[in-house]
């Protein structure tokens, strides 16, 4: 059932929301009545509104501020064991019949080229409300206040070669009412907030970026503006600028096979690309083959395949407070849950849906999410977390390393369509000699094959270094969808990794 807490909107807003809510529920109910009348095998409707605010500050002044609002409803039906989906921006009762009719017509066309009929894993129809907590609703915080924080941070980044001193924030609100012909009725409000800074130094035909707390516009979580305030962006800004300048003068990372330590931001993306995506069961079953690809983690490997060393335990957990992939129910009405993925190095679980879970004899892991009212839910990562080990803090792991490289903050990522061969670039790299950080390198990267790489993991830092990272730009599906997902990690060490690939 529902978890999380009710929000803190103003009285006026609640009053308006009350009227809107009633209309939304009536529309959803009407859609289910029409679906039942047309004799669909299964049907669901999501009435959804998304708000998004994006702020970008460049060189001390606002570069771009946008406020997006998107609302509509999508109807998904199973007819003759085949899927159809149609969605409309027309949030009107008069549109419901036509939209359901289009979904049914599409499903009938699917049935012409159907394989085995779709059978959905059972789920108890939930009637619930869920809301993520916020201390400071990011949409209620005055824009002037948000701009002041970001311009302050931007202005605190200075340097002779610093061409871009950028600060960002973004806030997302998703309100959704889900109703199914099985009787589920679920109302959710999820608020996500994030931000960060980036210093770009350019000179001598080179460009170096240093970011905080993460690259590509920062870090993100479910929560409110308090999350951005706690980042101390202005306080970190001088260091970030200095490091960008220092990188410009640093030598490139030498080529070789080395011990590497990955910081949290980089390790989060490593988990995302080399574990999160290959355990999506729709990929494994070929449903994404022509676009993002499939997976090396085929079903016969479940329960036996050695994915990594004994240090490696990974779980997908949609219930972690604050995770960017945290929610109450997925977009099929399945409750958020924790799913073991890798246990002491052995591959044990997938991210699944009601359609795909029966292929491995299980029920849905509750991972189906749509990026908006106009898209179908797909299997998406929740918070795919590398569990903490026993290697203490990052400083302790550095001290425990005789000869290695510390790779920090992602700059570039690429991986093959079965998720085996990867290559990641990082913003900054530091030599480790005798347990101490030394020489800085720029343009560092590392490459490998997923199972070999995770098998080489010999230490994971402890709970004191474990934190959540948000990936707000996870792409999948056709038409394209962008999901916001989370990864909890603490830094880790890998042996014998190829580094310094050059063009």
């Amino acid at each position: 059932m529902a978890s999380g807490k009710r929000g803190n909107g103003t009285g006026k807003a609640q009053e308006e929301t009350g009227a809107e809510r009633k209309g939304v529920k009536e529309l959803a109910q009407r859609a289910c009545e029409v679906m039942a009348g047309l004799g669909v095998g299964y049907g669901d409707v999501r009435v959804r509104e998304d708000r998004h605010e994006s702020i970008a500050v460049k060189n001390g002044r606002p570069e771009q501020v946008t406020a997006d609002r998107s609302a509509g409803f999508g109807v998904r039906v199973l007819v003759d064991g085949a899927w159809g989906f149609f969605a409309s921006h027309r949030l009107e009762h008069e549109a419901v019949e036509a939209v359901v009719g289009e979904a049914v017509e599409i499903a009938r066309a699917s049935a012409r080229l159907r394989g085995e009929a779709v059978h959905l894993a059972p789920v108890a129809p939930a009637r619930a409300q869920y809301e993520t907590p916020t201390a400071k609703d990011p949409f209620a915080v005055p824009l002037e206040e948000k701009l002041a924080l970001l311009t302050g941070a931007s202005r605190a980044m200075k340097g002779p070669n610093l061409k871009l001193a950028e600060a960002f924030s973004a806030a997302y609100e998703m309100r959704q009412f889900f109703e199914s012909t099985e009787g589920a009725r679920i109302e959710q409000r999820i608020v996500q907030t994030g931000g960060g800074i980036a210093a770009t130094a350019i000179g001598g035909g080179d460009l170096e970026v240093r970011s905080y707390p993460n690259s590509f516009r920062g870090n993100f979580a479910t929560g409110g503006w308090e999350y951005v305030e706690a980042m101390n962006l202005a306080g970190e800004a001088p260091r970030v600028a200095e490091e960008a300048e220092a990188l410009l003068a640093a030598p490139p990372c030498p080529e070789g096979k080395r011990t590497i330590l990955l910081d949290g931001g980089q390790l989060a993306l490593q988990v995302h690309e080399s574990c999160g995506h290959p355990v999506e069961l729709d990929r494994v079953l070929g449903m994404e083959l022509s676009y993002a690809g499939d997976s090396f983690l085929t079903t016969e490997k479940l329960g036996t395949f050695r994915y990594g060393s004994e240090q490696v335990t990974i779980a997908a957990d949609a219930t972690v407070p604050g995770g960017l992939g945290t929610f109450g129910f997925d977009d099929e009405g399945v409750p958020a849950q924790r799913t073991p993925i890798v246990e002491a190095g052995i591959f044990v679980g997938y991210l699944t849906s009601r359609e795909t879970a029966p292929a491995i004899g299980r029920t849905s892991s509750g991972a189906m999410r749509a990026s908006g009212w106009n898209r179908i839910p797909l299997i998406r990562m929740t918070n795919v977390n590398l569990l903490a080990g026993q290697a203490g803090r990052l400083e302790d792991l550095v001290a425990d390393t005789d000869d290695g490289l510390l790779m920090m903050t992602n700059r570039s990522w690429s991986i093959d369509q079965k998720r085996l061969n990867f290559q990641f670039g990082v913003e900054m790299c530091r030599e480790i000699r005798g347990g101490r950080l030394g020489q800085m390198y720029k343009n560092a990267n590392y490459t490998g094959l997923t199972p070999e790489f995770w098998a080489s993991c010999d230490a994971v830092c402890g709970p004191e270094a474990w934190r959540l990272w948000g990936t707000p730009n996870c792409g999948k599906g056709e038409p394209g969808q962008t999901a916001r997902v989370g990864h909890g990690v603490s830094p880790a060490r890998f042996r014998g990794v190829r580094v310094g690939v050059k063009a």
Binding site: R69, S70, W83, R90, G115, S414, D416
Partner: protein
């Protein structure tokens, strides 16, 4: 709904919003349409979706302070709310000293980019196309995965300086990956008119490649001459556009062309231009500020000639006019060329392979990303049909390889290109090319 009727309704809606705006300047972009997509895998349709969508982008300027807000509805209250939200942003923001104002109207040439049969294509029609691909795959004992997509949309841009541009576009796009055992092959097709897409032939091409790419052998990484098919060429162009051809990247010093305009930046065989008016692409008459599209030479005979701009970037770069490459006002990137062409040569795809002593034939790339934007260094994998060529013949399929390469330099080593240019999703219009010594830095297990 027919295009003229829809465009005039959208124009009226946008003009009302501009006319009644209290802001110093107002720009309204309205888009409306239907996007339908049928997806198949393992020879069956497994996802089948459609949506009717509307998108409004309102940009207002108050005392040189700019605000942008969007809505997904064309209803008056939603549009008024978006304008109000944009105004609130502008008022809370700071004046932009170099704000040049919204652009003045410029005459745009009409393009033929709309087709009734594509706009009206039913789920059954898309299933027919999927079925044709699957039948082609089955004939070669392959399984097919892919998608059939049809889009119909109208776009209008109106601003308070008198811009009032309207246009409609349809597009039909098909792509397929055929697989048989450990072999995979890819083919695609895209056109304004669904009748111009031959799904059966696309299925046959993909299936033929799948059959030929079975039992790939492992190949050591290293430098290989390559023949890149159009989908692979287009992927490099896409990333070059991001890194090099945006006026904003040039202005910020992030472009590898910064400070090198008029200089030779790659080989003489390389000529790249953008042209939204060309019938060979998916034409578009104007950009997202309503400025006319025209041919823009980006690299000519290896020499950097120009970058793409919107109006504000053009003025900041000291130009009088936009090149007609504005992105919607919601985009921080501001401008990008989106109808790229690469000049062809005098050869054919077949001859490029036949003349190669030893090298690789690459169908397409996967998961390309930027390692070093200033040096245009990309990395990515090959996918769905990679072959070793020896003495002008395909000797064997090979396992996929990772490349890490400076692509502007690599294009400079192009020693042959097909005369025929092919329209690839994006849209890009490109030849098959042969390049000497592309660096492959890793391999995978399939």
């Amino acid at each position: 709904m027919r295009p003229a009727e829809r465009e005039s309704r959208l124009l009226e809606t946008a003009e009302r919003l501009v006319r009644t705006s209290p802001a110093d300047e107002t720009e309204v972009l309205l888009a409306e349409g239907r996007a339908m997509l049928t997806r198949f895998s393992a020879n069956r349709i497994h996802q089948n979706v459609g949506a009717e969508e509307a998108w409004a982008v309102v940009r207002v300027v108050a005392g040189k302070r700019v605000g942008v807000a969007t809505a997904s509805s064309l209803r008056a209250e939603a549009l008024d709310a978006a304008r109000e939200a944009a105004l609130a942003i502008a008022r809370a923001s700071e004046p932009s000293a170099d704000w040049p104002g919204l652009p003045e109207p410029q005459p745009a040439k009409a393009v033929d980019a709309w087709d009734g049969a594509t706009a009206d294509a039913s789920a059954d029609r898309r299933a027919d196309l999927a079925g044709a691909i699957i039948a082609s795959a089955r004939a070669k004992r392959c399984e097919a995965a892919g998608a059939v997509r049809t889009d119909d949309g109208a776009l209008v841009v109106v601003n308070s300086r008198g811009v009032a541009a309207a246009g409609s576009q349809t597009q039909a796009t098909v792509h397929a990956v055929a697989t048989r055992e450990d072999g995979a092959g890819y083919a695609e097709g895209t056109a304004v008119r669904i009748g111009d897409v031959d799904a059966g032939a696309i299925g046959r091409r993909a299936a033929l490649k799948a059959v030929r790419s079975r039992r790939p052998r492992a190949l050591e990484p290293g430098r290989y001459d390559v023949v890149l098919e159009p989908a692979a060429v287009a992927e490099w162009l896409e990333y070059l556009a991001w890194m090099a051809f945006s006026g904003k990247a040039l202005e910020e010093g992030r472009s590898p062309l910064a400070g090198r305009m008029g200089e030779k930046v790659t080989g003489e065989a390389v000529t790249i231009w953008d042209n939204g008016l060309d019938r060979r692409t998916i034409p578009q008459a104007f950009d997202y500020e309503g400025m006319p599209k025209r041919r823009l030479a980006l690299i000519e005979d290896g020499v950097a000639k120009a970058v793409a701009t919107n109006y504000a970037v053009a003025r900041r770069l000291g130009k009088r006019r936009s090149t007609g490459h504005a992105l919607p006002a919601t985009s921080a990137g501001e401008c990008l060329p989106m109808h790229l062409f690469l000049k062809g040569g005098r050869s054919s795809a077949r001859r490029l392979v036949a003349e190669m002593k030893r090298g690789l034939l690459v169908t397409r790339f996967h998961y390309t990303n930027i390692l070093d934007p200033m040096k245009t260094v990309l990395t990515g994998m090959t996918r769905d049909g990679t072959f070793l060529v020896e003495d002008g013949e395909i000797a064997s399929p090979v396992r996929n390889l990772r490349y890490t390469e400076n692509v502007l330099e690599a294009l400079g080593r192009m020693d042959g290109a097909s005369r025929r240019l092919v329209l690839v999703r994006g849209p890009y219009v490109v030849p098959t090319v042969r390049i000497r010594g592309v660096q492959f830095t890793g391999t995978t297990e399939f």
